[in-house]
Symmetry: C2
Subunit: 431 residues, 2 copies
C-alpha cells in the first residue's frame, strides 16, 4: 500500500482508538502475548533467515548479536509485555476538574496523541516494546525497523497487528514500513502523523529532525557530564565517574566529559598521596578508559572507553561548560554539600540532573516507568526517559446545560471556579 | 543591539532565572505594578503619539480602539497583574517522587521552559500580560508587538524590564524587538529560543509556523463547530448555536459551522410548527447571521456574522466532518443523552470539546487559569487555553549517595521503586 494511504488509515484508526476502553487495550496486549507464543516457531525461523543474511553480508558481530531474536529473547519480550499490561491506563485520567458554574463542569482529561511514527534500527525486541506501548496508551502506530531485521520484523508486526484487531483494536492500528523511500514519504505526512519517535545513531535521528515538520521526540546526542565539586568525597567521585563512563560505554547516558574543580584536583591526603585528579584518572585508566585532556571539541560523544577531562575553577564555570557543550540529556554533580548540588541541579538545563549518582541511571526501567520509548532531550511535552505518560496528551471536556457566554459577559451570571480536587487522578469514565 | 546578541543574553538570563525563588518573581510583579503606576503619565503620553499617528495613517476605527491604552486600560492591566501575583508558582513543584533504593530518590520537578519569543499584533495590554506571565513562570522573554503601538510598547517594555531587574530578575530577562527584520532573525535562532508564542491573524501565525524550526505554541485557525444531535432539546440548541456564533464573532472560538442531525432538522412539534432546522436558522437570522448552506469550502473561518449550516445523517458523519474540516480548536455537541455526548467528546480530536455549552467558553479566564498566553491547537505539551502551567516543563532530579548502575546490573542491588505520594504537589524546595 502507498505510504499516504497507510498514514490516512492510521490516522483514522487513531480516532477510533480514542473511544476504546482500557479493557480492550489490555485485552489486546493479552492477545498479542498469546499470538507471539503461538507463532514463536515462525518468528524464530524468520529471524534465522535474517541472521544468515547478516552473516553472508559480513555484518559486525555486535550487530549480529543485537539482531538475534530467539526463544529466550521472546520470553523476555513477553515478560515485559505482561508488566506493561499490569500498569494503569495513562489515558482517560482527570488531570484537573473545575466547576465553572452550577451545571457547568470543566475537566482536563488525558488522551492518546494519535498516530505515531516509530522509526528504529536493528533490534527486533524494540518493535514488540514500541508496538505494545502504543497499544497500551491508545495510539495508532507506523513502525519502521532496521533493514537487517526485515523478515523478523515482518513476522512480529503481522502477528501483533492481527492479535490487536482480534481483541478489538481498529484495523490499521499498526502498520509496518519496509523501505527508506517509505520513511521519506512518511516524514512529509504531517497532516496524518502527530509525532515521530526515532531511535538510533545520532546521524539517523538528526536527519529525521531536519527533514520533517512533524514534532520529533527523542535525542540525537548524549553528551553527558560528571562534575566533581571542590567538597566532593573522593571515593564517591571515583565510583560515580567510573560507573558513568564504563558501565556501558556505548549507551547515550554514558558520560563523555569529566569536569573537576581545581581545588579537588589539587587536594591530596598527604605529601606522597595522589591528588584528587590523579585518583580519578588512575581509576578510570585502570578501568580501561583513555583520557583526553585537550580534545579539539568538547561536544563529542565517544560512545567508547574514552573520556575528556577538564579542570574548572568554579561551580559556575562547570554549569556554563555543560550548558554550552552538553546535549541536555543527563549530567551529574558529585558534592558533599546540598547548596552547590541544588544550584547545579537547578541551573544545568538538562532533562536529568543528578547529585552523587551515575549518569547511567537515566533509563525508563530504572526510573520505574515500566518501559520506555526513548529519552527526550527536547524541553516541551516529555523530557528524559519517556514511558506511557509521554505518549498521552490531554483535552478539555466541558459539560453544561445550555450555558451561553453572553450571560457571563453581561454580568447576569458569574463564574464560581471551584476546584473539584476529589475528582483529580480518577478516571473520567467513573466521574 | 543585534538580535542574535539579544537572544544569547536572553538565553543566559533564562538560565539565571532557573534558580530565582518564587519570592523574587512575585516581588518583580509587585515592582512592575508600582513602576507602571509611577510612569503612567509617560506611558499614556506615548500611547497618544501612537494614536495620533494611527489616525494620520487612517487606521480603521476598531484597530484604533484596540490600540488605545489610557489610565482605565492601565488600571485593568494592574488588576490582572495583582491577580497573577496571587497565583501559586507553577515552577518548582514535585510532579512525581520515587524512592529507587535506600538513599536514591528521583523527583520530577516542574521548571521554566527557558527563553520564549512572544510575537503579537496591536494591543499594548497584551504586552503587559505576556511579560508578567513570563516573569511569574520564570521564563525570559523576547517580545514583539504591533508596529502601530511602537511608542506605547517601548514605554511599557522599558518600565517592566527595569522594574523586574530592580526586584532581582537577571539583566536581559525581557527585551523588545521593533522591526520585522528582527523577528525574521529571531525565527532562525533555535539555538537560543525554546518556544515561540505568536498571536494574531491566521496568516501571521501560519507564516511563523512555516518559517521557524523553533516549536510554536498557538493556533492559526479557529474553525469551531456546533453539532445538534437528533435528541437535542431545541431551546438548548438555539441558545448554544446563537451564543457560539454571535457573542463575539471575531474571536477564534466563535463557531463557523452548524451541523444538524437530519432527524432533528425535520422534527417539529406540530403540522404548522417550524422544524428544528427552521428554529435554528430563524434564531440565527434574527441575531443578524447570514446562513451559508453550500459554501465552496467547509474550513473557512468567517470571523463575522456568517455561518455555514449542514445537515448530517449520523453522529459519525458529524464527527468525521469536524475531524476533517475543523482546526482542532473547540467543538460542541448539543444532545440530551450522555452516550452520544461522550462519543463526540472522545472522538472529536480537538483541544476543547463541549456538551451543551457555547464554544465561546474556550478562554483562559473562563477556564479559571487566571490568564492566558493564547490557545494552542497543537497536540503536544499544552492544548487549548494556555496559562501558567503551559509555560513550564519539568526535569528529573535524582539525589543519591554515590550509587553506581553496575551494582543493579549485576544483581547485587535491586530497585525498590516506592512511590512517595506524600511529596507530590509540594514544592521541591520544601522537600
Amino acid at each position: 500500500m502507498d505510504t499516504r494511504d497507510l498514514a490516512r488509515r492510521g490516522a483514522q484508526a487513531a480516532r477510533e482508538l480514542l473511544s476504546r476502553p482500557s479493557s480492550v487495550k489490555d485485552e489486546a496486549l493479552g492477545a498479542i502475548a498469546r499470538r507471539l507464543e503461538a507463532e514463536a516457531g515462525e518468528i524464530v525461523e524468520a529471524n534465522r533467515a535474517d541472521l544468515a543474511e547478516a552473516e553472508r553480508a559480513g555484518l559486525p558481530a555486535p550487530l549480529q548479536k543485537r539482531l538475534r531474536f530467539d526463544r529466550a529473547k521472546l520470553a523476555e519480550s513477553l515478560a515485559g509485555l505482561r508488566a506493561l499490561r499490569s500498569l494503569p491506563d495513562p489515558a482517560g485520567r482527570i488531570l484537573e476538574a473545575r466547576k465553572l458554574d452550577e451545571g457547568l463542569v470543566l475537566r482536563r482529561v488525558s488522551c492518546p496523541i494519535g498516530l505515531i511514527g516509530m522509526i528504529f534500527e536493528s533490534r527486533p525486541d524494540a518493535l514488540v516494546q514500541m508496538a505494545c506501548l502504543a497499544a497500551k496508551s491508545g495510539n495508532a502506530v507506523i513502525l519502521k525497523g532496521g533493514r537487517e531485521a526485515a523478515a523478523t520484523n515482518r513476522a512480529l508486526a503481522a502477528a501483533i497487528a492481527a492479535a490487536g484487531v482480534e481483541a478489538g483494536l481498529p484495523e490499521s492500528w499498526l502498520s509496518l514500513l519496509e523501505t527508506r523511500e517509505e520513511v521519506g514519504a512518511l516524514l512529509e505526512l504531517d497532516e496524518y502523523v502527530d509525532l515521530l519517535i526515532p531511535r538510533g545513531s545520532k546521524e539517523f535521528v538528526r536527519s529525521i529532525m531536519e527533514k520533517s515538520r512533524i514534532p520529533v521526540m527523542g535525542h540525537s546526542d548524549g553528551v553527558c557530564h560528571v562534575y566533581v565539586h571542590e567538597d566532593a568525597d573522593p571515593e564517591t567521585a571515583v565510583r560515580v565517574a567510573v560507573d558513568s563512563k564504563t558501565q556501558y560505554p556505548a549507551a547515550c547516558n554514558a558520560a563523555e566529559v569529566l569536569l573537576v574543580h581545581s581545588s579537588f584536583a589539587r587536594r591530596s591526603s598527604g605529601p606522597d598521596a595522589p591528588t584528587g585528579l590523579e585518583r580519578l584518572t588512575r581509576a578510570l585508566e585502570a578501568a580501561g578508559v583513555a583520557i583526553e585532556t585537550s580534545p579539539p571539541d568538547w561536544s563529542v560523544e565517544y560512545l567508547d572507553l574514552r573520556m575528556a577531562v577538564k579542570t574548572v575553577d568554579s561551580l559556575d564555570e562547570a554549569i556554563a561548560h555543560i550548558n554550552r557543550h552538553g546535549s541536555g540529556h543527563t549530567d551529574a554533580i558529585v558534592a558533599a554539600g546540598r547548596a552547590a548540588a541544588e544550584r547545579f541541579m537547578n541551573e544545568v538545563d538538562s532533562a536529568s540532573v543528578y547529585w552523587n549518582a551515575s549518569t547511567r541511571f537515566a533509563d525508563g526501567y530504572r526510573y520505574g516507568l515500566g518501559a520506555e520509548v526513548g529519552i527526550s532531550t527536547g524541553k516541551l511535552h516529555a523530557r528524559g526517559p519517556v514511558g506511557l505518560e509521554g505518549l498521552v496528551t490531554y483535552k478539555w471536556k466541558l459539560a453544561g446545560s445550555g450555558q451561553a457566554v453572553a450571560d457571563y459577559a453581561s454580568g447576569r451570571r458569574a463564574f464560581v471556579h471551584e476546584n473539584l480536587e476529589g475528582e483529580v487522578g480518577s478516571y473520567y469514565a467513573e466521574s
